[in-house]
């Protein structure tokens, strides 16, 4: 992915840039709002990571200007304080996702991946079946099966698995799951999501079959047939 990073703190910018590059992305960095706006409007990016507090032109103004000039590049807004008003203002201004500093690099990477997937999926017809390896989910009949075995899931487990399936192969963080399945926005601090996942795992990863739900240390979970 080609990513534009607009961040005025050089130390922070260096760290994010390095992390994104290590994950295989190409990164352009702008140190203030005006440069960021200029780059975003003149070159084409797959995603923009935008700090809210920027010198010269502030982050939300950059975002509004972009959206006003019909540039639909997915934007993740970074903010120093994850307060409700900030989040609402950010989403209203047209951001696709919102991250609170300090965030884990893995969280940013996971969210960028999810944005990318959402962007690609927009054109596709609404799916009615989701599948990874021998795990299948029928969204119309609301049924799940692994191989020939039918699996009974509780409503929340179903939505959890649906989100994992829609992002199969990607890392999904705990707060992404909380936002997607429960629709509340904050960083879950305990292992509360882990318990849900392990309950789900007990139903999906039946004994004798290769495990599908993998824990990614320091980041979250990944659904996929391969062990990597």
């Amino acid at each position: 992915m080609k990513i534009l990073l607009v961040e005025d703190d050089a130390q922070q910018a260096g760290y994010i840039r390095k992390g994104l590059q290590e994950a295989g992305h190409t990164v352009d960095v702008a140190a203030d709002g005006r440069d960021g706006l200029f780059l975003a409007t003149t070159a084409s990016f797959d995603a923009i990571v935008l700090d809210r507090m920027l010198p010269r032109v502030d982050g939300l103004t950059v975002l509004r200007t972009l959206r006003a000039s019909r540039i639909a590049t997915p934007v993740v807004v970074l903010s120093a304080l994850g307060e409700v008003d900030d989040r609402v203002a950010g989403l209203r201004a047209g951001s696709d996702d919102y991250l609170v500093k300090p965030f884990a690099l893995s969280e940013l990477l996971a969210r960028l991946d999810a944005l990318q997937r959402r962007g690609n999926g927009r054109a596709e017809a609404e799916q009615t079946r989701l599948q990874t390896a021998d795990l299948e989910m029928d969204l119309l009949r609301r049924s799940v099966s692994r191989g020939a075995t039918r699996i009974e899931l509780k409503p929340k487990e179903f939505r959890l698995l649906e989100f994992l399936l829609r992002h199969s192969g990607q890392v999904v963080t705990r707060s992404m799951l909380l936002e997607a399945v429960w629709d509340y926005h904050f960083d879950p601090q305990t292992n509360v999501i882990d318990v849900h996942i392990s309950n789900l795992r007990a139903k999906i990863d039946l004994p004798g079959l290769p495990p599908l739900i993998h824990t990614v240390r320091g980041a979250g979970y990944r659904l996929g047939g391969d062990a990597a």
Partner: protein
Amino acid sequence: MPRERAGGLRAWFASPFHRFAVALPAAIALIVGALFYPLFIEAEAHIREEVQAAIEFEIAGLEAHFHERGLAGLRDALQRRIEISPDRAAVYLLADRDGRALAGNLSQWPAGVSANDEAWFHVAEADGETLEGRVFILFGGERLLVGRRSPLEAFQRNMTARLWWSAALIILVAGVIGGRFMQHLHRRLARLAAEAGRIQEGHLAQRLSLSARGDELDALAERFNSAFDEIERLVDAAKHVSSAIAHDMRRPLIALRNAIDEARRSPGADPALRTQLEGLRDQTEELLRTFSALLSLARIEAGALGPLLQAVNLTEIVRDAIDLYEPLAASQGRALNPRLAPACVRGDRDLLFQVLQNLIENALKHGAGDIDIGVDTLPDGGARLTVRDHGEAVAAADLPHLFERFFRADSSRSAAEGAGIGLALVRGIAEAHGGSIRATDARPGLCVEILLAPGRRGVEKS
């Protein structure tokens, strides 16, 4: 808070108001008594002298008649006197030696008066009046009784009755005035106590109210208010310091966390070092979280979210929270028992969820047994949210401090988990919602109760 009236009357008298309310009429009655009693005595003596003088005068007159004309003259004189002054005040009786009446306005010798002694007498009559006078034994053995019906007894009765009535009136009037005054004072003091109580509960912006009079109580309240101003200023300064530290420490901490992360991801690192670095990173993350929570708390307390409050379905939020935490509780062999009434409050959905998150996590971490979660509607349309566990009790002295920053009820209770911000955040959020929060000993366990304002008025200021 109504204090126990353990000592009954003793406790009642312990109140200076009650003592004053009793002492004031008593003192007035005493003073009035001290003033009037000598007057009363004097008037009595005066009446007695008057009566005796009148009798002496009568006797002197009759004596003259007796000397001049003997018994017949005395009789005539008596007769004449009775005729010209038919008032019943003067009493005469001339009787023979056996006590039979010869002349006079008494039909018979009055009972209780000795007919054989020449002496002053003083007897009470059947109709309640007093007869006073003197008996003479004449040369022929006849007895002469000269007396008057004294107004003394009537005067005494009259005066006593009046004195009692005025004493009762004084006590009544003083009692009513004193009671009124005391009641007013009592009410003012009770209000001051209630306001001081709110300050003690942690509403540091609360002040004691002043009356328009500017009296001694107002002077005292003003003194206390300036003391509270100072306390509030100090507490604000302390809060500001903690927010400032949290704010300033974030950048170096983020840099540290990032550096650890980079080191962890570098390809050359050996697995043991990598595990160590991961542990370091997690600890740094934990610190950053604490600081973030502190900053959130500072912002919430500063009232930054006022305009964002809108009508939200509290019951649904509680249900979602239970849904999220049920498996975690079940993994510890514990249950979340909901008792939910439909309730709509004015609030922020995410923040209210965070309240539940903190309360449930607190109950899971520090409490024991099942956790009861209740939502009730209040008569004013607001809601009461309660979260209660069945674990060990929190010491009563600790209850009011439970919602303070960095407070831990018991240093031995899993101190590693949490920094003591969670419940402070809960209170901050509850108060930012215009609600109130209270912790009580649920015997067993801790019960946290939050009262929230109704959401019917819909979206405000948006």
